[in-house]
């Protein structure tokens, strides 16, 4: 099962995303931003980082890259796409998901272990979760405040497109505590927190039982593998 991970100039979490795919049982395929060949992968991850230095607007330049254009095209045909942090920003800039992301409410970059509620487990990337399951994965961003028009927010709520909501405090001022979204088809998911940093015991968030033992992020990648197998 091949899952592509796109590297843009300034991408940081590409190797982490590849590791997460490997640990979930998939085969990671490195993809290059300037190359519109997605190498026939079964799904794509747009990882976190500061593509193009966040110049212009976070994700705005990356949204124009040849590889992204191909992602947009194939997403329309149902290719599972996960955008994490900067990847979420790219999905929003690509109009695969609605709304926008602005500077954190408190103006500081924030890195913390964040509790989320899974609001929608009917997507390519969340089908292994229970509905309303509470999970803990790292969050790290400077521009993670989700904004959208009232109309869009209503549509997101009504159509159950909000995939994750922040619990125990909103870390960046996101409207409606939105941490992540999906599209109507459920193949495209974007979120600010980082599932790829909670996949391996010893290197994830602290849990009640042991230091850095949280691996709630693994199910994102297992979900897509399971879906592709079943497809």
């Amino acid at each position: 099962m091949k899952i592509g991970v796109i590297t843009y100039p300034g991408t940081l979490d590409d190797r982490d995303a590849q590791r997460a795919i490997r640990l979930a049982g998939g085969t990671p395929v490195p993809l290059w931003h300037a190359d519109d060949d997605l190498k026939k992968v079964d799904a794509v991850v747009l990882p976190g980082g500061f593509s193009y230095g966040d110049y212009l607007r976070c994700g705005a330049i990356a949204a124009q890259a040849p590889a992204t254009k191909e992602v947009i095209r194939l997403a329309g045909q149902g290719l599972p796409v996960l955008g994490i942090c900067n990847g979420f920003q790219i999905l929003v800039e690509s109009h695969l998901l609605p709304g926008g992301l602005i500077r954190n409410e408190k103006q500081h970059f924030v890195c913390k272990d964040q509790k989320l509620r899974v609001e929608n487990n009917q997507t390519s990337w969340t089908n292994m979760f229970e509905k309303d399951e509470e999970i803990l994965i790292p969050l790290k961003n400077g521009e993670g405040g989700y904004i959208a028009s009232d109309e869009t927010l209503k549509m997101l709520e009504d159509e159950n497109l909000i995939t994750f909501r922040y619990l125990d405090g909103n870390p960046n001022g996101s409207l409606n505590d939105i941490a992540g979204l999906t599209n109507k088809r459920g193949n495209v998911v974007g979120l600010m927190p980082h599932p790829e940093h909670a996949v391996e015991p010893g290197f994830g968030p602290d849990t009640k039982t042991a230091m850095r033992s949280g691996i709630d992020g693994l199910k994102f990648f297992q979900s897509v593998l399971q879906q592709v197998v079943n497809a």
Binding site: G10, Y52, G142, M211
Partner: protein
């Protein structure tokens, strides 16, 4: 061709003019050179320098680049070593960073460097480019940078200027480090009014590589091309090292802000990936990063290190600002630039890789088999010097040293006269007061602004005692890193202060289960032109070198920052010492806090009545005097060996070192880490060590560690301590249900209350 076009002179000062106009007035003084240094340059060249040569010599002979006041003392780090200590040392001092063998064919390189002066003038850019600079040092050894740490000293927290510096520095480190994708795994933050006009911003980076990937900064093959790549050269940071880092601040005079460099972490991130691909493809024969002194440094050092010469066409430098003069180009400290030496036949391959990463480059010249650095500006020669005289044979000073006038009185003024708590409730309120002082309080307001996760290999980070990074995903092999410096101790006794800094960093590595292997340092001091400061420096370097020899771990490199002084007020001598440890499998690492219920809590080591220079004396009584705690390094070594042994046998559930604030603070920190309380009794300590409760809670006696042991391992653990001769006393039991830290005969403290006092301090001060 219609015949040779006559070349017009451009007006720049050429080597020809230096001979024909020997008496020309030159601004050597403004560039920071002393009269005898200027005379020496003329002596070397047999004529006056051109203005470009003068620019080069002035930056390269600055204190920052030449180590002219410190060199005679730094030699000890290379001399006080045994062959055994060099066993793991692949590259020692003098290169961009030291390289240490960690086994399995892998090596790490690490170094800490100061960016103090720029960070006071322009805190954001100063701190940001401090991170950028040290990361390029690590990269230029051929390593992939894998983590950063920072060591910060700020003025009094309530002084309004402190907030300006704190916000700027933390934002700068966060901005640059996060954008580079390097986890920030630890550091130090200390507040003291002595740093008010001279905050310290030290940045550490570590990188990993395979043994065979090692790169060196040298140009040794004539014919190879010299290529500058990365960002374009601009007017930023001109004379940074000579203007900023090599003299004290005066309150009057023009602003020095333009001398601070401006950073672009995106450019650096791309440069890192580009360089690693260049190294991998084997197209680079030598590499040097551009930091202080820019092109002057890179060209002269590459040539000097390779024992060869170089021809450079300065007009080939890609500029951000076309109006720059050749002197400015030579001195510019524009960031995110590297200089590579590339064999001619590899040029095509080189170009392919840099173009892939969309990095700009230009060929400046080539390596020649002659002991000469020639630099041309178009058709005119503006530099013609022996490279070694610029890069390595700068002046060396043996500056006068003098015991400070205040020293005797300071050492006599012990803390023994300070009032101690008269009863249990006073003692308890002192402990609660101390945990809420800015120096002991929760620093997550700072550390939460740093990405600690990126890379997926962070095994420990703040607030644990060391940072720890996995280097091999296959085997789990990793490294632990801790840095420490107690400026108060060093002020009381610089020799002991440096030893104590090493001991604490060593202990912080040992408590994680790693074995200490190598040392780096960043020596922050006042003006070397002040004999009293020079005495402190002499003492501190001797103390550190002696202590390294005693512990058997070598100094691999470091940095000196002088002139941390405003007017007559110098900072405390602050020798930041970093210790690197190796752990065969990071899965074995020991947490610093308590997680389980019912574990026995042991205090390892003895407690003496040592409150001089302590947090209790300084932060609760505003007293600093006497002598710092005694240090027996043989005990420290024994303790580290015990911890390593116990960790291998899996006997220890947690280990936390005792340092500032003593046992009292260590107990609270171990509790706060995972929100697990404890019942503690001090009675046995008082009996065995013949001290009172104040000393038991607040003494800063060395070589002590708090460990917890599961009941099933109790007998084994005690036997191990006895066999190794490490004093071991059971002083309590962890309790995960009470929500209390009960200190028998003192107080029952609610964990919730402790957390509230401890965690709110920084955000209250800085928003």
């Amino acid at each position: 061709m219609l015949g040779k076009k006559k070349l017009e002179p451009s007006g720049v000062d050429t080597t020809a003019m230096a001979t024909t106009e020997p008496e020309k007035e030159q601004p050597w003084q403004e560039l920071g050179l002393k009269q005898d240094e200027y005379a020496e340059i003329k002596n070397i060249l047999g004529r006056r320098p051109t203005s470009s040569e003068l620019a080069m010599y002035s930056v390269m002979w600055s204190e920052h680049c030449s180590y002219k006041s410190s060199k005679i003392y730094l030699r000890q780090f290379g001399e006080k070593v045994t062959p055994e200590m060099k066993k793991y040392l692949m590259v020692g001092m003098g290169e961009n960073a030291g390289v240490v063998d960690i086994g399995e064919g892998l090596a790490v390189t690490f170094k800490v460097e100061s960016h103090n002066h720029p960070s006071y003038i322009e805190p954001f850019q100063g701190a940001a480019t401090g991170v950028g600079g040290i990361v390029r040092d690590i990269l230029s050894m051929g390593a992939r940078p894998i983590a950063v740490m920072d060591q910060l000293r700020f003025g009094a927290p309530t002084n309004p200027d402190t907030a300006r510096v704190v916000h700027g520095v933390v934002d700068g480190i966060s901005f640059y480090g996060n954008c580079l994708g390097l986890p920030n795994i630890g550091g130090e933050t200390v507040f003291d009014s002595v740093y008010q006009g001279n905050p310290l911003v030290n940045a550490l980076s570590i990188g990993s590589m395979k043994h065979e990937d090692l790169q060196l900064a040298k140009a040794s093959n004539p014919g190879d091309l010299v290529i500058l790549f990365g960002a374009r050269t601009g007017a930023d940071g001109i004379g940074g090292v000579s203007v900023l880092a090599s003299e004290t601040f005066e309150s009057t005079g023009p602003t020095k802000r333009p001398a601070v460099q401006v950073g672009d972490p995106f450019a650096e991130k791309v440069l890192i990936e580009c360089c690693l691909e260049l190294f991998n493809s084997g197209v680079v024969a030598g590499i040097q990063d551009l930091g202080g002194a820019g092109i002057s440094c890179a060209t002269s050092e590459l040539a000097s290190n390779g024992g060869k010469g170089m021809r450079v066409q300065l007009k080939n430098v890609l500029l951000r600002d076309e109006s720059l003069t050749p002197e400015e180009i030579l001195m510019s400290e524009s960031q995110e630039r590297m200089c590579a030496v590339v064999p001619k036949k590899k040029l095509k391959e080189f170009e392919k890789i840099v173009q892939k990463w969309e990095v700009e480059y230009s060929v400046l010249g080539d390596v020649i088999d002659e002991d000469r650095l020639y630099i041309k500006w178009g058709h005119e020669e503006i530099v013609n010097v022996p490279p070694r005289t610029v890069a390595h044979d700068g002046p060396i000073y043996e500056r006068p040293v003098k015991l400070p006038k205040y020293q005797k009185a300071l050492n006599k003024d012990s803390s023994s006269g300070l009032a101690r708590a008269k009863n249990a409730s006073e003692l308890a309120s002192q402990l609660m007061e101390l945990i809420a002082t800015p120096n002991q309080a929760d620093k997550s307001w700072i550390t939460a602004q740093y990405d600690k996760y990126v890379g997926g290999n962070t095994a420990l980070s703040m607030p644990d005692d060391s940072g720890m990074i996995r280097v091999s995903e296959e085997s789990g092999l990793g490294v632990a890193l801790a840095t420490d410096a107690n400026g108060k101790y060093s002020y009381l006794n610089p020799y002991e202060g440096a030893r104590l800094a090493l001991a604490e960093a060593y202990r912080n590595v040992a408590v994680t289960g790693a074995l200490p292997r190598a040392v780096t340092n960043c020596l922050n001091f006042g003006s070397p032109e002040n004999p009293e400061v020079m005495w402190q420096f002499k003492e501190a370097t001797a103390g550190l070198a002696d202590a390294c020899l005693e512990l058997g771990i070598p100094v691999t490199g470091g940095n000196v920052s002088f002139y941390n002084q405003s007017g007559d007020i110098a900072i405390y001598p602050t020798p930041v010492v970093g210790v690197l440890g190796v752990i065969d499998d990071v899965a074995r690492r020991i947490p610093s806090g308590w997680q389980d219920d019912g574990n026995n809590i042991y205090l390892l080591g003895e407690t003496f009545d040592e409150l001089d220079g302590s947090a209790w004396a300084k932060d609760l009584h505003d007293h600093l005097g006497g002598q710092p705690p005694k240090l027996d390094l043989a005990k420290e070594k024994l303790l580290a060996e015990l911890l390593h042994g116990a960790s291998i046998q899996g006997l220890i559930e947690s280990a936390h070192d005792l340092s500032e604030g003593g046992l009292g603070i260590a107990v609270l920190e171990a509790s706060l880490r995972f929100n697990v309380g404890a019942r503690i009794w001090l009675g046995d300590i008082l009996d065995r060590d013949q001290i009172d409760q104040t000393a038991a809670l607040f003494s800063e006696s060395q070589s002590r560690v708090l460990v917890t042991v599961g009941r099933e391992d109790d007998v084994k653990f005690q036997a191990l301590c006895e066999a190794r001769g490490v004093p071991c006393l059971r002083i309590g039991v962890t309790d995960s249900t009470s929500g209390l830290v009960e200190i028998k005969d003192v107080a029952d403290l609610k964990l919730e209350d402790i957390r509230t006092s401890w965690s709110g301090v920084m955000s209250e001060l800085f928003g």
